[in-house]
Amino acid sequence: MSSTEAQHGDEIVRVENVVKDFRSGFGLRKKRVLHGISFSVRQGEIFGFVGPNGAGKTTTLKILMGLIRSSGGSASILGHDVRETAFRKHIGFLPENPSFYDFLTGREILTFYAKLSGVSGSQRVERVATLLKWVGLTQAADSRLRTYSKGMLQRVGIAQALVHEPSVVFLDEPMSGLDPIGRVEIRDLILRLRAEGKTVFMNTHILPDVEMVCDRVAIIVQGCIRYQGDTQELLVEGERETELVAAGLSAHSVVDLEERFAARLRGLGDRIELRFAEKNTDEMIRAVLDSGGRVVSVAPQRASLESLFLSAVENAEAPESGSALTGMGEVE
């Protein structure tokens, strides 16, 4: 399958049972950082690869970019093994905190990347000028990169990832270190890429952005995929909670309610806020009233990606062997 043949919904990125061991101590010790992960990214979607620091997000992305060799399993993009190079003319990559040759100007670096990507001489000048304008760097185009701010370098990073008009774009923490305006701009840009039919793979830990832009997500924790699927389905399927504010409860009653309903408490002056599983709402209201308290308000809480993410991290126990969630920890 080539990029030109890819149809909406086709698998553009396929990762199957990928394992990665890093060697240390003169190569005698191995540390397993990816435990046979599997996931796929479909054509035309924005895919969020989410996980805490050290979960294996960047390692996975580097394997896809051919910067790191996997120790096992297989990974392909557009039907090509990631160890090949020719197909890379169809992909763009923005690394985390991108760094460039600071002795070059913005225009020179984009021209350089365009040459490497095989953009022909006749198209190069026009394409570079268009991208500089697109990322708002036309004014600074002929200044050396060493004079650029972090936000400007991020824009250069995005421009170089798009200079050859790739069909798949990989972004590693694209909002990292940006101010709120910069984040909104990058978010809009990602949505614009999808509107143009491009597939976007995004590594991130900024969950509100994932909720807002990603069609599908995979949550990786300790080198294992804990969840992958549709973002909205994930939020619907996730356990819903109820927030109840009560007044007039004795300290003894509050402790009793906390224990009975596994509720989380927060003091609000003379009131108390209780958060608990939605299914216990009726019983909780009755219990509050029976305890002599008064119900001030009851509000259903939609599960956020953040709460699901935290739950996945908290539930990450020692992985079992033989499954996609396998973890082996330190191996000799």
Binding site: L67, R88, F93, N97, P98, L116, H164
Partner: protein, 258 residues
Amino acid sequence: MIAARRILAIAMNTWREAVRNKLLYTLLFFALLLIAVSVFVATLSYVERERILQDIGIAAIRLFGVAIAVFVGVGLIHREVDRRTVYTILSKPLSRTEFLIGKYVGLVFTVWMQMGVMIVAFAGVSLAMDAPLGAVHAAAFALTGVELALMVAVATLFSAFTTPMLASYFSVGVWVVGHLTRNLRDLGAASDSGAVAAITAAIHRVLPDLEAFNLSTEAVHGLAVTASDVLLPVAYGAGYAVILLVIATLIFERRDFR
């Protein structure tokens, strides 16, 4: 053809980086200063002024040429990984081998360009002092150019797997030993021990024989050189550099950029 274009793009960028590097101009300045000082030193002598002038001049070109080759070459790959510039470059349709060869070609071009500036200065002072200049000088500089290309390959090899500091120690070590292997072999051959002779001969074969590129005596004294005196060392240097680059490529291909 397309691979050549990508290699050229990397090479041109390496050259551009080098010519915007102040360290290079510092080294070049001192090389030119030494060539200029050679005029002063030569005038202090009553005899063989031209020989002293050219001895110092050729030595300056060789010494500073190697300094540029080693000190720019050892950071060639390490800088790319350390500054993470390699991430975006290798995500393009470019193989690691093309990248490494491009870096090598760019640095060799830079070193030769610097050498060209030094040769022009050398020729200028030689003409000013009425010192002879001829084909033998051209041959001597051609072989110096091959030696520098070989030293860039040595530095590139070490740069592919170790830190700039260690790579510079190793590269300077190879340069020093490379100029001694011929003497070592001759000493071993004169030894009574067959084992010593075999070991020194093996060292001479394995390590580069950099004296093969040294025609400074012939140049200074205006001695005749044959075509084979030039062509054989050129073939030897090119072959040796290719072997080093193949090893560097094999190492570089296996590296993880964490």
